[in-house]
Symmetry: C2
Subunit: 346 residues, 2 copies
């Protein structure tokens, strides 16, 4: 197994991706390919006391870097020798089994879609982060790749999210819910009322474990393993969660900083407080899978440190091992509307 890592992507590049990859190689025994400006990667390794390239670590030179200012839709084409485009092209050509990047989300999504391509029959790739919830994490699909979705997209998201939860996260018969504003099948916009019977049918046929509409509040409590949503609403859900966590963290900090007595209290619960803060910080657990792409692509958070990159690489490993892309390919006909008139638009 060989995992291609974008050495130039993210707020803490090259340090975080380079050293995250080194740690993943050490810890998980996976082969890694660092793609980026050769001398910069070598410098980073040296700075971290690594003089000889460890076994299973390769470097592939790419002279350009995709910046946040670049047009996300065109970056992979405008910068053909960027770590992004070179890495994705290697993935496409089978010179690696997965691609991990902490760079621009939009550029990665466009690049993955147009270089690596979608699975045949899948209308759109979706961003599927694992968001913290009462059940230890819920797959949210989609969280913003597709603002506006016809029903067929959501049907496909449900299947892809279910396969991911089952085979990558190890949840047997994952509960799939449709994000909605009430539990009755009549609730929501025409999108939800149209998708509901499709998911219900898939559930009755035993293809997914559809448990019905789920309100946002119950979703946070962990009522489902997979939360199906259009990208606009999914993004509102994800960002509201993040914002509320930060807002409450801020107020909690103020509470503990009030006076000497409260500061003492903070010391007494310092261990638990650390865990609690992590819970509030975490908009997402690990990296976000781009489901629907024909090979595994993982978007690590832009602010990833080396530990986070290492985890994203582990996630890529699990994604490869689970081989859910084959499952999606084998079942893609079930995810299409009869006599589908919805042609994918590029």
């Amino acid at each position: 197994m060989k995992i291609i890592v974008d050495a130039m992507g993210g707020d803490h590049a090259p340090q975080a991706p380079v050293m995250g990859a080194i740690q993943a190689n050490r810890e998980y025994g996976v082969n890694v390919v660092l793609v980026g400006i050769g001398e910069v990667i070598l410098e980073t390794l040296e700075k971290n006391g690594i003089k000889d390239l460890p076994a299973g670590v390769e470097i592939v030179h790419a002279s350009q870097v995709v910046e946040m200012e670049d047009n996300p839709a065109r970056a992979f084409r405008d910068k053909k020798d960027s770590s992004l485009t070179v890495g994705l092209t290697m993935l496409k050509n089978g010179e690696g089994d997965a691609f991990v990047s902490a760079g621009s989300t939009g550029a990665l999504l466009s690049g993955a879609t147009l270089v690596v391509k979608r699975i045949k029959g899948i209308r759109r790739a979706a961003m599927a982060p694992v968001v913290p919830s009462g059940s230890g994490g819920t797959v949210l699909i989609d969280c913003g790749a597709n603002a506006e979705c016809p029903p067929e997209y959501l049907l496909q998201f449900a299947y892809m999210g279910s396969y991911y939860a089952e085979h990558v996260l190890g949840r047997p018969s994952p509960k799939v819910g449709l994000l909605n504003i009430g539990v009755e099948p009549s609730k929501g916009t025409s999108l939800q009322t149209t998708v509901y019977p499709m998911l219900e049918e898939a559930g009755k046929a035993g293809r997914i474990n559809f448990v019905g509409n789920i309100e946002a509040r119950e979703a946070v409590e962990g009522a489902v393993d997979v939360l199906v949503s259009d990208g606009y609403s999914g993004n509102i859900f994800l960002k509201t969660m993040e914002g509320t966590g930060l807002f409450l963290a801020h107020n909690l900090k103020a509470m503990f900083k009030k006076n000497l007595i409260t500061k003492l209290a903070a010391v007494l619960v310092s261990g638990g407080l650390k865990e609690f803060k992590k819970l509030m910080d975490a908009g997402e657990v690990g990296g976000t899978a781009l489901l629907g792409i024909s090979k595994p692509v993982i978007k690590a958070h832009g602010s990833s440190d080396d530990y986070a990159i290492k985890n994203a690489i582990r996630q890529a490993r699990d994604y490869i091992n689970a081989d859910i892309i084959s499952s999606i390919e084998a079942n893609v006909d079930l995810m299409r509307l009869d006599g589908s008139t919805l042609k994918p638009k590029e």
Copy 2:
């Protein structure tokens, strides 16, 4: 000023609405009319040691009660002698200046729309709660009354929310933002991209203080005074906030209950912790105004105790005093699309 109170609505009726109204009468000097089953109201007063009706408190008998099982769209018609229908009819006939109820949201919304009616030219009434945020509370409009909205609704929500924030909450030149998944005008679904230039135009003309698209995370931080949204997304925002608060409260509790030392810490911060918990509990601050109805109607939270009802009555008083309904009526032509072809459907 006379405020009509639904004595039978809410989880803690009749105790909460009856005693909340009595307290509001005492504290704010407003006249209140308790509408509900006469003997039940009298019993409740007696149980609380009130033998003679205080000055400024009236009782109006209504023999029926709208239950949660009743069809929300038809309840006001099916139960013509319910506290809901009698109270709303009194409001319509000018026998009171506002109506406050903690009963069924759907029944109240339908009843208010069809008995009291909307302001002429306003397409839909919206639910506008004040949600906790970094700036001390943000008016969210709409939070679920209208799952699916054409652009004109959102234009009207923006104006109504702005008037409410300015005149009822006392925010000078309130910042109005459009809930979205990015700040660029091109972001979101076709709804947001269509509404953006309309709000921009209203902003440029100095009619509202439109500050652009607002992501959910910044909205929670308190970036705006008014957050404009379709009801579906607004509900996702509100319920995610509530859910995240409850989820974190649960984890915080577990942290403090771990052992004797952490329990001591809890005692040391008990004062602040109480405030903090309130912050996490509060999905909404006070009652929710039904904006767009031709007279002030306030929905108090179903779980309201007497203190919450008292506050909802104070809010109704402020709503009446602010007289924003006149402002909406005077400016309603600015809130309509040119040559509007959108006919309101009942």
